[in-house]
Amino acid sequence: MEDRRTVRKRNSGERGLALLAALALGLYLVFLVLPLLLSLRSSFTNENPLKAQNDFIGLANYTEMAGDDQLRASLTFTLILAFGVTIAANALGVGFALLLNRTSLSYRVMRTVAFLPQVLSGVIVAFVWQTILTQNGLLNTALVNLRILDEPYPWLGSPHAALFSIGLVVTWVMSGFTTVVYLAALQSIPLELHDMASLDGVRGTQRFRKITWPMLAPGTTISVTISLITVLKLYDIITVLTGGGPANSTQSTALYIVKLAFTSDRVGYASAVAMLLLGISALVALTVTGALRRREVSL
């Protein structure tokens, strides 16, 4: 028989734990679920902090989005960047992982270094790349000094070059992450599989296609999904590198939402665009992850 004091002590412990769990859930509800609902509600209004009264305007914000050229440009930019960076960073990650997948000291040092871009904040990364890419920056100075270019090239100053430059910087950052994921995936491939392949005389590209690549599938799923989500909500690198310019050409949807809400004071419309970005993120994440998961099974 348990004595009453033990039971009482145990019960108070149960309550304490439940209280802590409830506190965590409460914080999540207040600072994530509630803002989400408020944002949804606000997307049906013409809310504006400069106006005394806000009215429900039904779906007007959503119909306005259909004819918004800035929004369309921002979505195009965001999706090109997201898919471009995801493909490039994952290709580089696989290549890097294959190259660095050895265990001697020199390779371990290189692996450590390869992850460094992930450790620095986007703000620092963007400032360092800005000194390289800006009009009178280090790259143009070097290229002009070496007489490769006659005059500085606007790496960040023309729309197409700026898209490319941002893609380059974000790919650079994401590659550190994808490399580590693919390295782990490579090391989870049973060694016996490779020994068997050697005995059967399967080598080189064939071995990569038939054994390594299919065995990397779980790593690919996680690496591709996280790359996509990260780029879809990217804010700091673009803000520092170009601020959305030139002429809004690098204004991602995330930047557009913040501009609408904090600079144009169009809170209602900003909320509607935010709902759209949320929907696109969810759709992309779910379909791509689903497809990659099915691929894991079929390979």
Partner: protein, 303 residues
């Protein structure tokens, strides 16, 4: 997928050639190809880290030498850039580092017990409610922060904590960071044997004590992962401090750099000095806990 922490030291790595009984006559060729491989890998790695190399060497070079040859090593090195960056009248670096440290440490110190207690509590429940709650929580990993930023500030205004450090920390506690902590902890809690908990209950220990004295020591790798990644993410966060804190409350290191650096963009010496000082702490941290860092990343992504 297994974790990288499995000992792989003596293993000829997968993806490479098997080293089982190499015929002796291939030895010299192999040595040459091994060297070639290291050289190629080193060259690729060097190109890859060039921007970080630039940040490192140019922090110790005067402006004219940076422009003459940004890739040259800093010889003789100068500390002018660093002292100038540290003695700015606006105290950008010391204040920024202090504020970032306060926000990151307090946020993580609160998210860890909240996240793990919640995970322990929910992992002992079963059924639909648990599945739904975990699904709602995992959504937090995916929601772009721009979507909830403005309503979050409004909620903080209602409780009188907008544009304050407690407000920023509170927003950190409830957002996607908590989702991440729960995501990691729930995965680990599954591997805690039920018998241990039952035995502790028979000894009269309540939930709170079992969680703190028995479960927490067992899930230490999860705590390491959560602490390392959340510290880094909150330290590097830009959007929340920029708008929740606003310009009047002093800056974290990221927003401070963004809001003050514009006018220095042609003074490369000064810029690299500031970047070096702002970036050196996370890099040192990463190098010290590198093993747990990689293990956490890979075990987290395996679940």
């Amino acid at each position: 997928m297994t974790t990288i922490s499995r000992d792989t030291r003596d293993r000829p790595t997968a993806g490479g050639r098997s080293t089982l009984t190499p015929p002796p006559h291939t030895r010299p060729r192999r040595r040459l190809s091994t060297r070639l491989r290291v050289a190629v890998a080193a060259a690729v790695t060097l190109v890859f880290v060039a921007p970080i190399y630039l940040m490192l060497v140019n922090a110790f070079k005067p402006q004219e030498k940076i422009l003459a040859n940004p890739l040259a090593p800093p010889w003789p090195p100068t500390l002018d850039n660093l002292t100038k960056a540290l003695t700015r009248p606006d105290n950008l670096i010391p204040l920024g580092l202090r504020n970032s440290l306060i926000v990151a440490v307090i946020s993580v110190a609160l998210i860890v017990p909240l996240g793990s207690a919640f995970s322990f509590y929910i992992s002992r429940k079963s059924g639909k409610t648990k599945a739904v709650i975990l699904l709602v929580l995992s959504a937090g990993l995916m929601i772009p922060p721009q979507v909830i930023l403005l309503p979050t500030i409004r909620i903080l205004t209602w409780v009188g904590l907008d544009h304050s450090y407690p407000g920023l920390i509170l927003a950190n506690l409830g957002g996607g960071y908590l989702s991440f902590a729960v995501f990691v902890y729930v995965g680990f809690m599954r591997s805690v044997p039920d018998e241990i908990i039952q035995a502790a209950r028979l000894d009269g220990a309540g939930g709170l004590r079992i969680w703190w004295q028995i479960v927490m020591p067992l899930v230490r790798p999860a705590t390491a992962t959560v602490v390392i990644f959340l510290t880094l993410w909150i330290w590097n966060d830009f959007l929340n401090p920029l708008f929740i804190l606003g310009p009047l409350q002093g800056q974290t290191i990221t927003t401070g750099l963004y809001l003050t650096i514009g006018q220095y963009s042609v003074d490369y010496g000064q810029l690299f000095g500031i970047m070096f000082l702002a970036g050196v702490l996370p890099v040192i941290g990463y190098l010290t806990v590198q093993k747990q860092f990689v293990a956490g990343l890979t075990s987290g992504s395996a679940k």
